[in-house]
């Protein structure tokens, strides 16, 4: 059952890629897309070209964007990582400076430069029809492929030399999809051969359910495991009980 769907989705994706990749003449038939590309190019030259070069061919300061695909643009700009505020190992998440229309235009422009993963459709990242088992399987996939860096709760973790895997708590479904497919910064790419669109939907479904279900046991204490638990155990347990002990052993108010 899963295999034909996977195949279909893969074909669908490939089709999308080829559409983007195909010569400009073909896309030009769609005037809308064409004007988007023009608008995107203008925006690019104002906001991005300083580092990425006028033709997005890359400079010593930033990589080439030829072939990174619309997904990479939507992820980087949509999560406010680009334009980068200051150079560094890794751009932090921020507030996006562009409207959704401008992001689409930028994405269309960069996609026109070379083939790359596209922005997912809403069906591709929709988690509406997932069964409980599929969501649980998404958890298994998450723990196999993602939790090593992003932690069991999607709270992120450390990488060498000051880099880090960010928290996934605020990340939208399509941004997760785009990150999986494009591998931003140090993150590896997971192509459809490894994680099918269905797999990614299940992972997104797992994360959304995980983040919307209550913390059964109470305050999550940061969700980073035994380190914060130990810290709070000392503060509340030892700290609180020592205060009680001090009250217990102190002589109360005297008559004079």
């Amino acid at each position: 059952m899963a295999k034909p769907i996977t195949l279909l989705l893969a074909l669908f994706l490939m089709g999308g890629l080829y559409a983007v990749l195909s010569p400009a003449g073909q896309s030009a038939a769609d005037g809308n897309v064409n004007s988007q590309i023009v608008q995107g190019k203008e925006l690019f030259q104002v906001s991005c070209a300083t580092c990425h070069g006028l033709g997005a061919e890359g400079t010593s300061a930033a990589p080439s964007l030829v072939g990174v695909g619309a997904a990479a643009v939507d992820f980087q700009v949509g999560t406010g990582r680009m334009p980068m505020a200051k150079p560094g190992a890794q751009a932090p998440r921020g507030k996006t400076e562009f409207t959704p229309a401008e992001i689409s235009a930028l994405a269309a422009y960069v996609a026109s430069l070379g083939a790359g993963p596209g922005i997912p459709t809403s069906q591709q990242v929709s988690t509406n029809n997932l069964t409980a088992e599929e969501i649980a399987r998404g958890g298994e996939l998450f723990r196999t492929n993602c939790s090593a860096c992003h932690n069991y709760e999607g709270d992120g973790g450390a990488l060498p030399n000051g880099k880090y895997a960010p928290s996934l708590g605020q990340t939208t479904a399509s941004h997760i999809y785009e990150a999986v497919r494009t591998g931003p910064y140090a993150m590896p790419v997971f192509s459809a051969g490894t994680l099918t669109d269905q797999d990614v939907r299940e992972i997104i479904g797992y994360l959304q359910t995980l983040h919307s279900t209550p913390n059964n046991g109470g305050f999550s204490l940061g969700g980073i495991g035994p380190v914060s638990e130990g810290l709070w155990g000392w503060i509340v347990g030892i700290g609180g009980l020592v205060m009680v002990a001090m009250w217990l052993a102190r002589k109360g108010a005297r008559a004079r």
Binding site: A132, E133, I135, A136, R137, G139, E140, R143, T144, S147, A148, C149, H150, N151, Y152, E153, D155, G156, G157, A158, L159, P160, N161, G162, Y164, A165, Y206, T209, L210, T213, N215, N216, G217, G218, F219, S220, L221, I224, G225, P226, V227, S228, E229, G230, L231, W232, G233, W234, V236, G237, I238, G240, L241, V242, V244, A245, L248, A249, R250, R254
Partner: protein, 565 residues
């Protein structure tokens, strides 16, 4: 001055075994006591215990936190065993936690989930149990530090110190076994670590690994075996040692802090029955209550989020519980030393920090009372506690040890620190490699200086009173700060401690010109250690100096009588 009631000489109201007193004179509690005495002769034993005096101080309750956490552990642990299945047989999860539906897992993990989601109150008691374990080990460590810094381990309490060290090491094993039982991803990762640790033991590591895991890692036996250790073997040992620990506390009578009228020959406080019983019993309920509140409000070890253990999954931020954190840190920062000799591999990178360091810590803790007694030559009984500043070398050593432990501990969370403070993992690790050696040395010197400075301040206060913080301008234009005299009680506390002479090497000349010491040979090394341990102490003011200072009128003499503060 009203003298306190003297319980040992007071008329005993305990019931005599051979001449039962008339029942009408007794309260109902007394009647019950009489009934028991008729059958077991409890009065003979009880009269010595019931009015036993316990001194009151908050720091004497740290061990009680550990004791009460232990009781809570036993109570909640029994509840958990009703549902927990210590089996590594595979099953498909079909409980009420939707996010793991249909996932294959061990029965141990499935039953932990059942406990957490399908047994009412199960999650609460699981969490209380885990918090109690955190608190038990934490309180045991703080309690041990209190004993160390106040010198309460000195003769005659060395045996109890050793029992305490045994308790602490057993509790680490007990805690680790418990951490491993649920068979979630985190506990499996911990087991994998222990497997690597066992394997690293030179010569016999592989043999031990095969014996412990009944073959290759992970096998199907480790959880049932750890379960046996966790609920029977180690708790039984703990219970036995805890009983011995408490019996010795009773038998030796509690130590006390120095104070007016507090001597090596007495203990001042409140009687066991009823005051101390109510306070200690009440404190048990407070500890229990706080643990239940923590279990209700603070999530701990959410195993359902970690998922079942499989050896090919891992999560960022995989850490042990706090009490193993320092070993984890040591393993993280030890350089990759490994010998490849012929057909053999010697994993010093794991063995030294994992097995060696733990051995070193517990051995040096166990040896300390004997080492200190040997250095000072002090074989007296001690029931009055040291003020830590009056044993500056010991205090400094203790702080240095704590600092070293803390550095390892911090290194155990280097990934968390890296992400939360935007630092690079590598630089933290490199920094820690140096810090575990340098920081304790700095801490030692700072603490020692601080202790001597506190001694000097004590002396100032005894001689000239305490500073008032008020500046007064003299008619000549100078300024001075008037000192307020301290009370006799305070002055006594500041000057009551004994001063020990440095041991002189018997082959060298005796500095004080005192007679040689009873034919006991003191080596130069021992004399040097003795000097290191004792020589920096400030001499107490003599009675003359005190009178001289007080005659000089710049500060008033000690206020007579004691004031009440």
């Amino acid at each position: 001055m009203a003298r306190p009631a003297d319980v040992t000489t007071a008329e005993s109201s305990a019931v005599e075994a051979h001449e039962p007193t008339a029942p009408h004179r007794l309260s109902s509690a007394g009647a019950a006591a009489e009934w028991v005495d008729d059958r077991v002769g409890a009065a003979r034993l009880g009269k010595g215990l019931i009015r036993k005096v316990f001194p009151d101080h908050w720091s004497f309750l740290l061990g009680e936190i550990a004791l009460y956490s232990f009781i809570v552990l036993l109570l909640t642990g029994v509840f958990l065993t009703i549902w927990f299945k210590p089996s590594m047989a595979e099953t498909q999860y079909d409980g009420s936690y939707q996010l793991l539906k249909g996932i294959p897992m061990s029965k141990a993990f499935a039953s932990t989930l059942q406990l957490s989601f399908d047994v009412r109150g199960g999650l609460l008691l699981r969490q209380v149990h885990h918090w109690a374990a955190i608190l038990f080990t934490a309180a045991a460590v703080v309690h041990m530090l209190r004993i160390f810094f106040t010198g309460a381990f000195r003769k005659p309490r060395e045996i109890n110190w050793l029992i305490g060290i045994g308790l602490l090491s057993l509790s680490l094993i007990e805690g680790f076994a418990g951490y491993s039982l649920p068979d979630d991803l985190l506990s499996g990762t911990g087991l994998r670590f222990v497997d690597g640790l066992i394997r690293s033991i030179p010569l016999v590591g592989t043999w031990i690994e095969f014996f412990v895991f009944a073959g290759q890692y992970p096998g199907t036996s480790i959880i049932p075996r750890l379960y046996m250790a966790h609920i029977l073997l180690v708790p039984a040992l703990l219970l036995g040692l805890v009983s011995a620990h408490l019996a010795l506390v009773f038998y030796h009578k509690h130590t006390q802090y120095p104070g007016p009228g507090r001597t090596e020959q007495n203990v001042v406080g409140y009687p066991l029955f009823p005051v101390y019983m109510a306070k200690a019993g009440g404190f048990f309920f407070v500890v229990f209550g706080v643990l239940v509140l923590m279990g209700g409000l603070m999530q701990i070890n959410p195993v359902w989020k970690f998922g079942p253990y499989t050896p090919n999954q891992v999560t960022a931020g995989s850490q042990p519980d706090w009490y193993m954190g320092w070993v984890e840190g040591a393993v993280r920062i030890t350089p990759n030393w490994e010998w490849h000799l012929g057909h053999t591999t010697w994993s010093w990178n794991i063995f030294l920090p994992g097995v060696g360091l733990m051995g070193l810590l517990f051995t040096s803790l166990a040896a300390w009372p004997f080492v200190e007694a040997w250095i000072t030559g002090d074989k007296r009984e001690h029931h009055l506690l040291d003020r830590p500043r009056n044993a500056p070398t010991r205090t400094a050593l203790g702080v240095a040890g704590m600092t070293c432990y803390a550095m390892f501990w911090i290194a155990g969370g280097n990934d968390i620190i890296a992400t939360h403070f935007s630092l690079s993992l590598e630089s933290i690790t490199r920094f820690m490699r140096v810090a575990v050696f340098v920081a304790p040395v700095i801490a030692y010197h700072v603490t020692k200086r601080l202790c001597i400075w506190l001694q000097r301040r004590d002396q100032e206060r005894v001689l000239h009173g305490s500073e008032t913080g008020v500046l007064i301008r003299t008619p000549e234009g100078g300024y001075y700060e008037p000192h307020e005299p301290i009370t006799v009680d305070q002055a006594f506390v500041l000057t009551q401690h004994d001063e020990m002479d440095v041991l002189d090497a018997t082959e060298g000349a005796n500095a004080n010109g005192l007679p040689p010491r009873d034919g006991v040979v003191v080596s130069k090394r021992r004399a040097a250690l003795s000097r290191w341990f004792l020589a920096d102490n400030l001499a107490k003011p003599t009675r003359e100096e005190l009178e001289h200072a007080h005659d000089h009128g710049s500060s008033a003499a000690l206020t007579s009588g004691s004031d009440h503060d």
